[in-house]
Symmetry: C2
Subunit: 343 residues, 2 copies
Amino acid sequence: MLNLTNHQILLAARPKGEPKPEDFEEVETSARSPEVGEVLCRTIYLSLDPYMRGRMNAGKSYAKPVEVGSVMEGGTVGQVLESQHEGLAIGDIVVGPGGWQEYFTVPGVKVRKVDPAWGPISTAVGVLGMPGVTAYTGLLNIGKPQPKETLVVAAASGAVGSAVGQIARIKGARSVGVAGSSEKCRFATEEFGFDVCLNHRDPDFAEQLRAVCPDGIDVYFENVGGKVFDAVLPLLNEFARIPVCGMIAHYNSTELPPGPNLTPLILRSILTKRLTLRGFIVWDFASQEAEALQMMAGWLQDGQLRYHEDVVEGLGSAPQALIGLLNGDNFGKVVVRISPEPF
Amino acid sequence: MLNLTNHQILLAARPKGEPKPEDFEEVETSARSPEVGEVLCRTIYLSLDPYMRGRMNAGKSYAKPVEVGSVMEGGTVGQVLESQHEGLAIGDIVVGPGGWQEYFTVPGVKVRKVDPAWGPISTAVGVLGMPGVTAYTGLLNIGKPQPKETLVVAAASGAVGSAVGQIARIKGARSVGVAGSSEKCRFATEEFGFDVCLNHRDPDFAEQLRAVCPDGIDVYFENVGGKVFDAVLPLLNEFARIPVCGMIAHYNSTELPPGPNLTPLILRSILTKRLTLRGFIVWDFASQEAEALQMMAGWLQDGQLRYHEDVVEGLGSAPQALIGLLNGDNFGKVVVRISPEPF
């Protein structure tokens, strides 16, 4: 039985608008020994993802909120230090809901063993993990890009957006990315192969989007909302599909934007263009996880799929990194390195 | 060759907001003899439908606008007077796009022969025609009501709404109707079997809706928009389906409503509740028309499905009747009797 000091980051207060450092609190406790069926793991990587902002609010979204005073939730890659779960042995690398802490003790059935042969283990919370499966399942089940069609996705250099754009291209579609800086746009086209990528901070963004979508938009993978949605709406083609995955532009909002109220315009567009908008969460397609991971791993290995990580050092950096992520300060998939990878 | 005086109603001007009588013009012409492949028909019933308001605007919605100076478009039941189309004989009753006129000459392939054994021939533009097929295909392909689920539909005493509510009940769901008067609500429950029907003009309509939907809403068949949509949105269950068929509350609008802009709220609801909103037009499901008509006719004959017609007399009454329809003045499916039924 190990006796390990465990640093944790708790939700200290529910943020109003943008989270502040004081909304988080770092505490020192002891790691809990595993009971029957459980494993104790050392956290190696903590994933930071936009959905975490929702968990900081009171009230159910699609999942229960994190309680004030509880450890912040998050996906983690860890190494098994003690196992009371058959099928998991000391030394195994696993991915699961470890949360913002140095050690986590969870039921063995809640983690998945990571095969390091598939790629760097950090990808188990990235392109070969929740964000990758989100991109794959949402795009292919709802977006259904067809050869020659035009897809638009924002956060094009981010974890989900970069995968969406590349998968759409693998399926023969044209990928138009949207990102928050010219550097990100350059990266999206040069590294991720987007046909074009636009900076949504440009004052004439909507006109630029129209210009680069001469045949309209067939698939809009919605992960931001805000002005990108507003610019996309009039360009959507008949029978366009809109997987609704997120709306990061609004996560820190404390009130609705001013008028006019565009609801009738949205309904009219849905009607006259016969649009399909469908919200989804990655676990709605849980039965497709294995297939998605296998396909993504194959594309990674044959070079059709790339990813970029923005690695932040140390548990204590996580709060500021999440605040930055919600502002678009990150460059790629944000992972926090909590402890070294095993040799 | 017949020489027939033909009264027609033309679109005289594009309405601004609510159509006015001056936006229509009645003219006298001669009926055109059929060319090869065509039939000349005497109009018996003209259907009035909310979509007609859209055709009066410039700019494409899902169909081309009616040109100023052209005959108003509309579905009609007629009797063949002359036929140059094999398969259609003098005396046949047909349904097709005859428009607002006493006689119409159209290609035979554009009309469908009506079997009077199925029901009164006026139903060929009602429950056994476009509105009925709209209700059937939109509800079953997109709404997919399941036993014990709750469906909400507005215009519950109208052509589409009344059919939607009844089909949902046939499928085992609970039907909650919304209508514009207590008389219509009573009719919806007593004649069409809605479990309950609410008057959207009641000031506490939203609270009433919440009270009568204790298990939330699983299917919202959208044909009105406006405050009904706003009241439904917070009550939708996870994985609810919203066929978007119309938005009559907005057809006469000349500007968007004031703020706040509810777009982020709609997107958030779609995301967190995993909603599906999908727009459709009846002809998107053209391949299902025969099946739909057969099922509807069967339900009519065995008494599971009822309908109510609001019959208006004479071509000249059509403009005011359409203006009234857009205001909710009608009581059931609006048909204009242009000439007598054959004996």
